[in-house]
Symmetry: C3
């Protein structure tokens, strides 16, 4: 059946340029759309595709609307509006209230009647599953953990004992929230495990990616504030705090006790040392090593783009001899100048 | 019992130098072999061990055969021939057809009678498990996902809704195929989730390593072409395409919408940015940051080998003052030359 | 109820400065302690908080004791002593002997009567679960795997066929021990899988972090020696050996056949190449690329700290033109000197 453009325009506050009775039933890219598709343009470089798209309608801003050969839903933030419409056209699979008979539920667990617990999940003693929360198949919610309303553990998520998950937070498969932090004391050449007595508190509206791990605090808690978005395969160590609305791309590692500010954006594979403080509104590009605190907002980088291997080897060799370069330069700078032979050690 | 060398020579097209009735029943390294062992030499640097090995026979090429003190199975590609023989000597544990009684199978799932579904696995509505496919214990095959013939999900693999897995593909434990891509639109300081409406299509003869994650596409699909080999803990973001027969080592991260060519080899911990195109036959050495497209085949690098910490700190300090170095050089290059004092800011 | 300071002093060999009848029942940081809290000071920079802490008692060394306003448990190694006391105050949740009725146990598995097997776990044919071992919920112990006494698989751990886990070793959720190594032979543009016939042997007193993967050996075994501590999301490839009491921080990748010595400390996101040998007592700081063997103990580094993006871009541009810099320097060093114009290609 789909939804009419008129209804979408009213519901999402768009200006409709086109026939309000046309209906769309799925999203598509401009290039692969058909007469039932809704597409969008958020990035100006895709504007050129507007003339040829077969989409029924396109969500875009006023600046892009001129070149659109089909119906247009004009709004100020096409990406966000597209996201909201796509959720209507492609709703999440519904999960009926109730507990699957194969799930193992401790006697003292409290599961809201409107919540769903999927096949072969385990819910421990004293755990609380809030209203409309969805615990997908094969999840583990250990003793004393709490899921607020509308939490969605997609599947095979591990929520360890005592961990708190805020409302509407979504966790992708394989994520582990509340494993022990990496705390060991040295004692005569051996490591003694330091009990990790804190927990993890995850705020509302957070997203946690597949196979990401968030360790419980050593004494106090690890904290993920509201609206934070964590991609896949991220490591959040014990006692880290990630500030509200920050987004971390995949494979980022954050070492223990570091505090990341609000609204930060951290690129993929960034490594952040321990006991650091990153200010609000910091952007760090991918593959950067963060070994000291960042007290001011701004954009920070630390990765060197690749070269063909033979060029790169030569650059690395030069880099490794920077000391010699400086020595030669100093020799040239001497009043008499010219460079003494014995300092010319570089080719 | 084992297999006779004569049989192996015939079956795998080797020239046998030695007694065809000798039997081998397991593989071993040259150094730790015994009279029932089959060993191999693919790398010339191990040739020196041929004189002393206690192996019953060695798979090797003609160039290595001269120094072999025991029976030799001579062939052109010893590594590949060894691999095929090892599969005969060490067959995978067999999995009997049928569904384990503890598995939870949706009414509308279609499971081929020759397929195996292990203990405590979950197969969702409309999922298809093909002929001779093996779904190990504790796997999850969500609604609408399809496994072609001879697919092997070793154990605890997550295949999300609608994902397609090609024939003979093997997936190691903990892998997550089809989690949501990391797509969010900014809206007034908050992130709005963009529904990820695509899926993942994995070709035939692919291998996916332990705890690797492959996200579903945002609108169109994420694609892993035939014969691709992915090691452990790899992140493949939404809408990535990995070309046929490419191999990615562990801990690689590939950002969204990037296309990797065919027959590429990507070293461990390489980080690849988004919306890039990597040509066919590209080799990238480990720990390299890829921040722009690579239009031509070749070998590319970007990592700098370590130094003792005190040496490294000095190099980094030099690097951070490269600007000053250039300034000083320019001063020396001026016609009058000699370097003006006020520009000598470096030690 | 808690424990009296007198009892703690006797049991852990501390000198008590304060009232032996005071009782503590939980640990806390100096800043957030109350009258029932035990705190500790291992790092001198926290000494300043000793004057104001509300803790009932503090574990510290003699050098710190002077400034302590509350009761003190004085010892030589406060971190290790704290760890041991914390284990008394915060014991692990107990696991009662026996097998949960929802677990799936093969007929030929041998489970010690004192061991615990949790809900929805699977134990394969011929597997051995030792005395007092704890197999948490949703774990998989495949055929022929053995867990020695007091092993603790916290939850959702995968122990593949034939893997051996030593006494008292703890494994965090999501870890995969014994997945296939990444071994493929090239054959006419395709990859042939090389059967991975070795296994993984994990020593006693090891800790393995969440979602860490340790691959089985290609022919011989992958070995993790006693007392090794592995953080989360670490990749240990086939045939690696990690020496006793070494500690690896999160996101480290170790390529195949590399041997790491004893008592090494490897920082987060370090990437270690294959077929290397790292000596005993080597420390490698975070984000370092290790591309050659390290024959001597010491501290090694390879990461470059970040800069603001515009500064960094300039440094990278300088780095990429190091060759030109050297050329210009050589021109200046020529006897006649002064630098020929055509070589001044840099700005």
């Amino acid at each position: 059946m789909g939804v009419s453009l008129g209804e979408l325009a009213v519901r999402f506050g768009c200006e409709l340029r086109g026939d309000p009775d046309v209906r769309v039933d799925h999203v598509a890219t401009l290039a692969h759309a058909d007469s039932r598709s809704l597409a969008f343009v958020a990035n100006p470089r895709y504007r050129q595709q507007l003339a040829a798209t077969a989409a029924a309608a396109v969500v875009l801003d006023a600046a892009s609307a001129a070149g659109c050969a089909t119906a247009a839903l004009v709004c100020r933030n096409p990406h966000a509006t597209y996201a909201r419409i796509a959720e209507v056209l492609h709703p999440l699979p519904s999960a009926s209230p109730g507990v699957h008979p194969s799930a193992v539920i401790a006697a003292g667990a409290r599961i809201d009647p409107s919540a769903h617990v999927g096949a072969l999940s385990v819910v421990g003693e004293g755990a609380v599953i809030g209203p409309r929360a969805v615990v997908g198949p094969q999840c583990l919610v250990e003793e004393g953990a709490t899921l607020a309303e509308d939490v969605r553990l997609t599947a095979r998520v591990t929520v360890c004992r005592g961990v708190e998950i805020g409302a509407r937070t979504t966790v992708q498969p394989g994520a582990v929230i509340g494993g022990d932090g990496f705390g060991f004391a040295q004692d005569g050449g051996r490591w003694i495990k330091v009990p990790q007595t804190g927990t993890v508190r995850v705020g509302p509206d957070v997203e946690i990616g597949a196979n990401t791990t968030i360790d419980r605090g050593a004494i106090e808690d690890t904290v993920i504030e509201e609206g934070v978005k964590l991609d896949n395969l991220i490591m959040i160590a014990h006692n880290v705090r990630v500030g509200a609305h920050s987004a971390l791309a995949a494979c980022v590692g954050v070492s223990g006790s570091t505090a990341i500010g609000r609204r930060c954006m951290i690129g993929g594979q960034v490594g952040i040392g321990g006991h650091l403080t990153i200010a609000d509104d910091v952007i760090i590009t991918g593959c950067t090593m963060v070994s000291h605190s960042i007290p001011r907002p701004g954009v920070y980088s630390g990765g060197i783009p690749l070269e063909e291997a033979h060029v790169w080897r030569r650059l690395v060799a030069r880099f490794k001899r920077l000391d010699s370069l400086v020595t030669r330069l100093k020799a040239l700078e001497r009043p008499a100048s010219g460079g003494s032979d014995q300092e010319v050690t570089d080719d």
